[in-house]
């Protein structure tokens, strides 16, 4: 595990990766920025006073908890229209379409399952680490992952993806 001398070093090294995690958790760039900044603020508060052995795990846990709170506190769910709001460059077209598909498919998952998918398959964390971040058992992580995969395989938004995975079988 990487150790960081200063908080700035940690942010510089990890911000992009954590931002992508936050983006997948929330499905919205602005909310993801808020989520990440809030988690980093919590981390920064503890940075000097308490030795954080795994700052990235700490931030991820803070983000997952905060995203769950955001999800619960929202009275009205937002429709993800983020793809059209993002700046599009000339070669961004296919990626934006793909992002839209993935985000819509993830939005269909319950918050817990989405967190498991993001941590397990995007951050490539082992099941034990995911369980530690989510504060649940490894078996629970497996269950969530299995159900999430089943849902994603049935998702209409990932139809061509399903075909691709079938082809690769």
């Amino acid at each position: 595990m990487a150790s960081y001398d200063t908080f700035e070093d940690f942010v510089t090294a990890s911000a992009d990766r954590l931002m992508r995690t936050a983006f997948l958790l929330t499905g919205n760039r602005h909310t993801a920025e808020d989520l990440l900044q809030g988690a980093l603020e919590r981390t920064y508060q503890q940075w000097n006073s308490r030795q954080i052995l795994a700052p990235e795990a700490y931030v991820r846990r803070a983000m997952v908890n905060a995203s769950t709170r955001i999800w619960r506190s929202r009275r009205f769910r937002e429709e993800p229209l983020d793809a059209s709001a993002d700046r599009v460059s000339a070669d961004d077209g296919p990626d934006l379409a793909l992002r839209d598909q993935v985000l819509r498919a993830l939005q269909e998952l319950p918050q817990r399952q989405r967190a498991v998918v993001v941590l397990r398959y995007f951050d490539d964390l082992p099941e034990a680490a995911v369980a530690d971040i989510l504060g649940c058992s490894v078996g629970s992580v497996k269950t969530h992952a299995s159900r999430a995969l089943a849902r994603l395989r049935m998702s209409d938004h990932l139809g061509d993806v399903r075909m691709r995975s079938d082809r690769g079988r």
């Binding site: 602005h30 900044q37 992002r99 995969l149 995975s165 079988r169």
Partner: protein, 300 residues
């Protein structure tokens, strides 16, 4: 991929003796499909967020928004500038500003009411206000009027000053007009000083000082209560007269400065009390007038 897709019959050999051939091969196929789908999912998640990057000034934002270990409470944090322009944060920021506005208005109203209440109390109740004034047994006149009644005038010249009510915030408000006085000779001044020093010597025996007070016997109880209430004055109450002026052959006007170290009296009156007072000559001896003594001791 649906479950139906993976449960098709397979012609491969069974993994274990006695196990149906189709079930074993179906499970292995499903596992392979899951692994393939997981790999595709990893690739998808990676590709779909490849263009997503954190703001370049994120560390600075965090540091600005969060002074380590000294963060303000959430209710009084100013909204961060970057959050205001975002449309989805607009409602939240507005709510936040609205809440702070209500808090500021409530605080202003509370402060205004506090000041107004203080003024009303000062105006209609007063520090003495007849509430904590101990009337001397023999004087028959309260040093302070009850609200709504006129203060009885003493028999002194028309220009006599009316002492203002004692207040810890304004303990020494001089009279608006000073009485017309003539300077006393040295012997008279010394006698008057001796009378005040003796009356306010504040030793443990109250009767020692009362011999210097007009109708002093009537103030025994008041003096005892005063000493019980402010025991810190015993032995360290000092008086000095800053001015002495004769109002007539048997009456003099003085300005008294009383210093002491009693904390209870200090909280109420301050540790240096400047008051006007009178001295009267009775039987050829200068004494502290009954009004002055009852006011200074009785209303404390």
């Amino acid at each position: 991929m649906s479950a139906d897709d993976t449960d098709h019959p397979d012609q491969g050999p069974a993994s274990h003796p006695g196990e149906p051939r189709g079930a074993s091969s179906g499970a292995s196929t499903a596992a392979a499909a899951d692994a393939a789908f997981e790999q595709v999912l990893r690739d998808l998640l990676d590709r779909s967020t490849r263009q997503v990057a954190a703001p370049t000034d994120l560390a600075a934002r965090v540091r600005t928004a969060t002074p380590a270990r000294h963060r303000a409470p959430r209710w009084c944090r100013l909204p961060q500038a970057r959050r205001l322009p975002q449309p989805e944060r607009g409602r939240k920021a507005w709510t936040s500003w609205w809440r702070r506005g209500v808090l500021v208005i409530a605080a202003a109203l509370a402060a205004g009411l506090l000041v107004l209440g203080g003024l009303i109390v000062d105006r209609y109740v007063g520090t003495g206000g007849g509430l904590n004034v101990v009337t001397p047994a023999g004087s028959g006149v309260s040093p302070w009027p009850t609200p709504g009644t006129a203060r009885p005038r003493r028999s002194r010249p028309a220009t006599a000053a009316i002492p203002s009510p004692p207040s810890p915030r304004a303990p020494s408000v001089p009279a608006t007009t000073l009485p017309a006085t003539t300077p006393p000779d040295q012997a008279t001044a010394d006698a008057i000083r001796a009378a005040f020093a003796g009356a306010f010597d504040a030793d443990a025996d109250p009767d020692n000082g009362l011999v210097y007070v007009q109708n002093g016997a009537g103030y025994h109880d008041i003096t005892v209560r005063f000493l019980q209430r402010y025991p810190g004055v015993i032995g360290n109450l000092r008086t000095s007269l800053t001015s002495i002026g004769l109002l007539g052959p048997d009456r003099a006007h003085v300005e008294v400065v009383i210093t002491h170290h009693d904390p209870a009296l200090g909280r109420q009156w301050g540790y240096t009390i400047n008051r006007p007072g009178d001295a009267v000559r009775v039987g050829g001896r200068w004494l502290v007038s009954a009004d002055t003594y009852s006011f200074l001791v009785g209303s404390a």
